[in-house]
């Protein structure tokens, strides 16, 4: 039976090999069509340097270069390629963005640019992958097996690519790309293949989605908090229900999808709808012929972009469902108030609230369900909160890694910050915790439950 960790290493290796092969193939095809295949050399140089640098990163202690830092670098490099593609398209549309007399096709400048971009593309991804594989090998306690498995995945991808190219020689595909489309292609490859959380997140899509959602959430939330004083009569539950629509998962997801599709949409507009330039030909037939060649070329180059758009839309919606389902949401355990307090055992036959996972409890008060959450933080203290915040409807929280995530607006909140009041944080409860039990007074619970969904901050 294949060990799941070893199998995961193989998948990660395959993904990296596939990515390298795909980018190489498309870039080489582009050079082939333009009869400049010698310019592939700086690409190889950038790739080799990236491999060496990423391997040397493993020698640096984890606390100096963290996975989060690498993840952010990958996201920034994705954004860079996306922006560069837009800029290149703008340049290609006739607006010269470069200093006069400069020419990207000047071979020495082009070589340097290719070399730098190859490093920007490959280095963060390879570093992230190697750091993740390093973590996997520690879990497996067999670094050799993990490394062999990852290398096998990489070789399999390489063999598939080499066989495909040797067999079909599909270099004609390079005619579908100009420099703007190439840069967009690279950005899309990054979007779909640069996740560094193993099989859980092969692509950047979930983290980009979370990033956009967090941004939209914070923007909307802070705007409304600034606009409304806490005791304003408008701050009723219904008002907050309305406001919360803006950072609910549906709206945020849709808005971020629109943002991500903006540049490809500009490409499609440029290719299919932008008026054709007038040509200087004398005869109408020649003008028509040249325009048709331009139009045909534009349509050809719109094709991969339209495929990207389809990929993004499909991946986005499928990823949205997946990311929701990946949140761990425990079933609440019933509690009964006794002598004005509720008591939760820390550890008995059925429960261990100190195990680092999220635990939920519910009690019924005057026909209304009130839920609590308990989770252990990194400093080994327990955090006890209501399963609700002051803003969203009290749908509650789930757990993803070291975050609790609002099920309504998907805002991730680090477990270690639980206990902070206000905003999207779960409303903290004052609890008495001893070696065996957590005790919370009903008076405290009911008082804090009054904050739920009404915007009255206890700050």
């Amino acid at each position: 039976m294949i060990d799941s960790l070893v199998f995961e290493a193989k998948i990660i290796g395959f993904k990296e090999g596939f990515k390298i092969g795909l980018v190489w193939f498309v870039f080489y095809s582009y050079l082939f069509i333009n009869d400049r295949t010698k310019l592939i050399r700086p690409f190889y140089a950038g790739l080799i340097l990236s491999v060496l640098c990423s391997m040397s990163i493993l020698l640096i202690p984890n606390d100096v270069i963290s996975v989060v830092f690498i993840g952010n670098t990958i996201s920034m490099s994705f954004a860079l390629f996306l922006i560069l593609s837009g800029a290149a398209l703008y340049h290609a549309s006739g607006v010269n963005l470069l200093p006069r007399k400069s020419n990207l096709w000047n071979e020495s400048i082009f070589r340097i640019i290719v070399f730098i971009l190859a490093i920007i593309f490959f280095l963060p991804d390879l570093a992230g992958t190697l750091v993740y594989l390093d973590e996997l090998s520690m879990l497996k306690e067999n670094a050799l097996m993990t490394s062999i498995s990852a290398a096998a995945g990489l070789v399999i991808a390489g063999v598939i690519f080499v066989a495909f190219i040797k067999l079909y020689k599909p270099y004609w595909m390079g005619s579908f790309f100009a420099i703007p489309q190439l840069l967009l292609f690279v950005a899309i490859v990054k979007l779909f293949g640069s996740g560094i959380r193993g099989i859980a997140e092969l692509s950047l899509v979930p983290s980009v989605q979370r990033g956009f959602m967090k941004f939209i959430h914070d923007f909307v939330h802070q705007t409304f908090v600034m606009l409304m004083v806490p005791d304003h009569p408008l701050l009723k539950k219904t008002t907050w229900d309305f406001i919360a629509i803006f950072f609910g998962s549906g709206f945020a997801s849709f808005a971020s999808l629109i943002i991500l599709l903006t540049i490809p949409a500009v490409f499609v507009y440029h290719s299919l709808f932008k008026p054709l330039p007038e040509t200087g030909e004398e005869s109408r037939v020649s003008r028509r012929r040249i325009k048709s060649i331009i139009l045909s070329d534009r349509r050809k180059k719109a094709l991969p972009v339209m495929l990207f758009v389809i990929f993004i839309i499909v991946a986005w919606f499928s990823q949205g469902e997946e990311s929701v389902s990946r949140i761990f949401i425990p079933e609440p355990r019933p509690l009964i108030a006794d002598k004005g307090e509720i008591v939760i055992p820390l550890n008995d036959r059925t429960i261990n609230v100190t195990d680092g996972t999220l635990h939920k409890f519910s009690l019924i008060h005057e026909g209304e369900e009130i839920r609590l959450i308990v989770i252990k933080k990194a400093d080994n203290t327990l955090s006890v909160c209501l399963d609700a915040c002051e803003i969203c409807p009290p749908v509650g929280y789930g757990q993803r890694d070291d975050h609790v995530v609002c099920i309504y607006c998907k805002t991730p909140i680090p477990v270690n910050t639980l206990g902070d009041p206000g905003g999207c944080n779960p409303i903290p409860l004052t609890a008495a915790i001893d070696d065996n039990f957590i005790r919370v007074e009903m008076k405290e619970i009911l008082k804090k439950w009054g904050f739920v969904n009404r915007g009255e901050s206890e700050k």
């Binding site: 109408r284 325009k291 048709s292």
Partner: protein
Amino acid sequence: MPLIKVNNVIKEYETAHALRGVSMDVEKGQWVNIMGSSGSGKSTLLNIIGGLDSASSGDVFIDSTNIESLSEDELALFRSEKVGFIFQQSHLIPYLTAVENVMLAQYFHSMADEDEAADALKRVGLGQRLRHRPSQLSGGEQQRICIARALINSPEILLADEPTGNLDRDNTKKVLELLKSLHTEDHFTIVLVTHDPFVSQWGERLLMMEDGHITGDELLKGRPES
């Protein structure tokens, strides 16, 4: 070098010889008529010159290119760039208007341009018939659309296979006068196939065909009076 050079072309079918070693030259800008009885091989020769058919042996050079050696794609490009065709039947699309029929030829060449197509129809005297469908037009008018369609992409060669075969004498004369005036203005080369002695006298040169051979070649003096 002549624009069209046909060199010992033979065309054999399973049961018959359509062309038995035809050779001819046509200079650029010349109007050449080929006359012969039915089955003499004149339409076969025209189709081979236009790249619609291939010779069993022999070479056909158009503008120094041997079209017998071209691939299907190259032949299609050759036809769209170099040659315009007019046939006895108009082959107009019945549910398209006159201008749309001309635009269709533009579309297959490069891209449609309605203004240019309309101008071409005005040039052949159909400025008032742009939005008419073929069924709403006379045979002569339909053939004039065909001429506009054939010339819309400025071909170097116009190949006409019995272009007036379905027309009465009056309309035949109108069509030929139109061709004459366009030829004078644009200087394209015309190879016209006919069995009608009246039509054969329009143009600059007459080739006679019989049983797959060219049997006569004479220069014409000019337009007949009737």
